[in-house]
Amino acid sequence: MSESGLRGPPDDAMVDLLVKQVTDGLSSAEQRELDAMDAALVGRELRAFERAAAALTLAGTTLEEPPAALRALLEQRGAELFASSTVVEFKKAPPSPPAAATAPLQSASSRSDGSRRDASRSGTWGWLAAAACLILAIFGWIRSPEPVPAPIAQVEPTPVAPISEPQPQPQPPTPAEQRLAMLASADAVKVTLGATKDPAASGVTGDAVWDPQSQTGFLHFVGLASNDPRVRQYQIWVFDGNRDKRYPVDGGVFDVPAGVSEVVIPIHTSLSIGQAKAFAVTVEKAGGVVVSGLGHVVALGAVG
């Protein structure tokens, strides 16, 4: 990547791709072509074109009020987002062997999954088969070393907050505490997440817990590789048995900072989940994607 001071104007090829991205979206091949260009320049020029397109869009849009039911649903979603906390909670990696504090959580999750597996295998295998397809799809991606453009940078990575600092005032339950409470609920769906062969998932253990009633849940990972949120972010997907399994529901993006070994991540689905069937985590461009190609899966698990 060139230095800022040496960076020249975008060439015609870059501008053509950026205009197409802003107005049309890019094919995979075009995205790869853009990925190979100067990431910082691409990011800056893309934002400029996006602003121009947004201004034009505003100039041609006649406002129409949303339906009352949708407005109410949006308010509910907003309340849920805040209620389940917008922070991703992290525990700092210990200087040597795995954090003892994580062991009880993993045990609780495993016990629950064991009993569920015994209860219903047939439903599991259908979703595991779908999940297996996702695994097969990742191998072309695993070691893709291509440079990545600067993020479009409109979607904020979920804020993170270390929990090692003592809180000066009484606080609502942390995501870790909420997760533990949810794990104790008989109604919650609990899933062990299996790591794929992706390098980012090497040695990773993880689980998911989901409460169908509150439409909230948590992922928990130990050992997931850190990411650069300016380039790539992890994204959560929930497979809903009531929806087309080709299009899992976005559960939000998250980051793992360097030096962090254990993370608890609230799941914020963009749509209601009728019947959670499986959970997956992919690596996506910064800000996440609307519909994942599920080409870069790092962890997944099906409900037993």
Binding site: P10, T23, A48, L56, L58, Q154, V291
Partner: protein, 184 residues
């Protein structure tokens, strides 16, 4: 200056979420209705866009543009992604619907935002066929290929018109136009 709704959301003020919906719900819903195929799609898209907005609120910088442009940028990204993922489905608008949309005049646009006003001023410098390409692409969500087919225009010309139009708007908005000129 008091903090904007977006800045208050970023600082964790839950009440601002409801205000955000009241303030921008019509904008997001209107964009979603125009750039999705069904009302159900629009409802799903609206939820996704608002979730994005709340997550992204911390990145809003008033010195870089208005809140409405920020919202429209987020909405457009989501909607374009959705459109292209379903590009094998039938076109979303009939010809009749396409003909009902028009650009605001600068006076009306100025009530929406300063950037919208500048955009309409830039549009006035473009030829009618160039404006039509921008309208079909940005307001109706047609792909460049769809525009070419609809207007009976070479794809290269569509690309050129789209590019020239956006660059002209950038110039009028004084958006960092470093090195970019209206090449055609």
């Amino acid at each position: 200056m008091s903090p904007s709704v977006l800045q208050r959301i970023a600082s964790g003020e839950q009440a601002a979420v409801r205000e955000c919906i009241a303030e921008y719900g019509a904008l997001v819903w209107s964009l979603a209705r125009r750039l999705t195929r069904t009302p159900s799609d629009a409802e799903d898209a609206t939820q996704e866009i608002f979730l994005d907005i709340w997550r992204s609120a911390g990145r809003f910088d008033a010195s870089q543009g208005s809140d409405k442009v920020f919202i429209a940028m987020i909405a457009r990204r989501r909607l374009i992604d959705r459109l292209r993922k379903t590009s094998n489905e039938p076109p979303m608008d009939s010809v009749d619907v396409l003909e009902t949309v028009a650009w605001s005049d600068p006076g009306t646009a100025s009530e929406i935002s300063h950037e919208a006003e500048r955009a309409t001023l830039a549009l006035q410098e473009l030829r009618p066929e160039q404006r039509e390409v921008l309208e079909l692409g940005l307001l109706h969500g047609l792909s460049q290929s769809e525009i070419a087919a609809r207007l009976g225009m070479p794809l290269g010309t569509v690309k050129s018109f789209m590019r020239r139009g956006l660059i002209r708007v950038r110039e009028f908005m004084n958006i960092d136009a470093e090195g970019v000129s209206a090449r055609v």
